[in-house]
Subunit: 285 residues, 2 copies
């Protein structure tokens, strides 16, 4: 299929990301249906022109119309949904998702899926520290990265459609990674950073800290406001990769600590120079 | 003394912070002289209206005119400067600084200083990842914290003048802490965060990381571009407090790692909830 606006899109899970997808795609002219748990989220989305149709139940006739189905659910809910309702999917439908881990999900979904539909996984690397369709905003995709994680079961056509979806929604950088490489990367750049931010907030109970902080502390802990339900699930689903990232970080942090303890200024400076050199790449973009 | 614009101000060390002080104070109507190492920095500052007079040598007649002297030097250079040139200071002069650590500096300066001048220490908690008077910008003080760290040797008048200086330059929050409490706080909110950012950059040598990162990684490593000369000096001067902060962080980070390893989701969630609750205070300001 090609992504023209005649294609009917169904979004399952109308939270912050599902809502932002809906906004981005409806502005492009697509007809958007949504299935989500709460009637109040449907009402809000209809009143604010975010979707065309909304339902709180997985109605067979609604599911059966969609040519592109986007799942924006917690990983375990996504797995349960496919197991329970895939029989209603239209033959030839393309399925994609927004799940933050891939190794534990993609293979399981693809292996249980009907042969006449295709699931191509993707991860929009964008978010906010607030939740719900009420806070959805398609502008969070601007300047952000979008990663498609195909397996050997995927067709080239589906990969291209999924990449095009990312480009259409305004992501700055659209790329392809294997599920394994994705999870290694995400364990480092996203999950490890959240572990650091949480530990930084829990390790010190000083009062009035906010009166004495500089920007550095605020920046490092912005993501310390965290959805404990979702992130604990994502951490556990990527346990091995995340443990590996945590250990890599621990090794370097402990090395710096030892240098400081022994007054080894030259090694400390060398670490700072490597850090400065590597970080410069991020500002060149 | 009261800080009216008839007071002659001398800034020693015209880098990013010295230059930003000069800009802020000259806009308020003060006459600003500066002593700094490089003629090119003097030339730039004169051409851009940042200072009124500039010198590359510690001329006795220039030092002797100043009623307020602001030192924006590396800690060891500040100590050497006072030892070498304090005989030229005007009797009754008020001295202040911008040094990022206090315990290792304030007592040593005050105990070697002539009895007819007074040094009141302060720390403007503002900065940028670039250096030099060419990048100075008094707007970095807006919304930032300014901490005065008096000792028993200081007069109430000097403390009030120093607080007023912070308010005049536009700091959002001006406060008083003991040098010891300041160093404990700074070891946590500033030095520890820089240690984390550096370790995060040095622990992974993946290529093209910038193509896959989200905002969280960029935020956590913004300060990983670091002046190794200055920060290694500041770390070593606050060694005990920083080691203590690093150990507090290590304890929590290791606890989170252990929970993950053992699949203890409930304790992970509990840490995330504490983190979320504490971080919320920083957004209420």
């Amino acid at each position: 299929m090609m992504l023209d606006t005649s294609k009917k899109i169904l979004i399952v899970g109308l939270g912050l990301i599902g809502g932002s997808y809906a906004k981005a795609l409806r502005k492009l002219g697509f007809q958007i249906s949504a299935i989500t748990l709460k009637q109040e989220d449907i009402d809000y989305a209809l009143q604010n022109g975010i979707i065309d149709f909304g339902y709180t139940e997985p109605l067979p006739e609604v599911i059966g119309q969609a040519e592109l189905v986007i799942f924006a659910l917690y990983p375990h809910v996504f797995l349960e949904w496919i197991a329970s309702y895939q029989q209603y999917l239209r033959s030839g439908a393309l399925l994609t998702d927004v799940t933050g881990v891939k190794g534990a999900i993609v293979e399981r979904i693809q292996s249980m899926l009907r042969p006449d539909v295709e699931f191509i996984a993707a991860h929009p690397m964008a978010g906010r520290e607030v939740y719900g369709v009420q806070n959805s905003d398609e502008r969070i995709f601007r300047g952000a990265n979008y990663i498609v994680t195909p397996t050997a079961r995927n067709t080239e056509a589906a990969i291209q459609d999924c990449l095009e979806l990312g480009r259409l929604m305004g992501f700055a950088h659209v790329s392809v990674l294997s599920p394994e490489k994705h999870d290694e990367m995400i364990g480092f750049v996203s999950q490890l950073t959240h572990c650091i931010a949480v530990s930084l907030m829990t390790c010190y109970d000083g009062e009035k800290l906010q009166d004495y902080t500089g920007d550095s502390f605020r920046d490092l802990t912005r993501i310390a406001r965290i959805n404990d339900d979702m992130w604990s699930e994502l951490f556990l689903l990527n346990k091995d990769m995340l443990l590996d990232s945590m250990d890599k970080f621990l090794t370097e942090f402990t090395r710096l600590r030892t240098c400081l303890e022994h007054g080894d200024r030259e090694t400390m400076r060398q670490m700072m120079r490597v850090s400065t050199e590597r970080r410069a790449f991020f500002d060149k973009k």
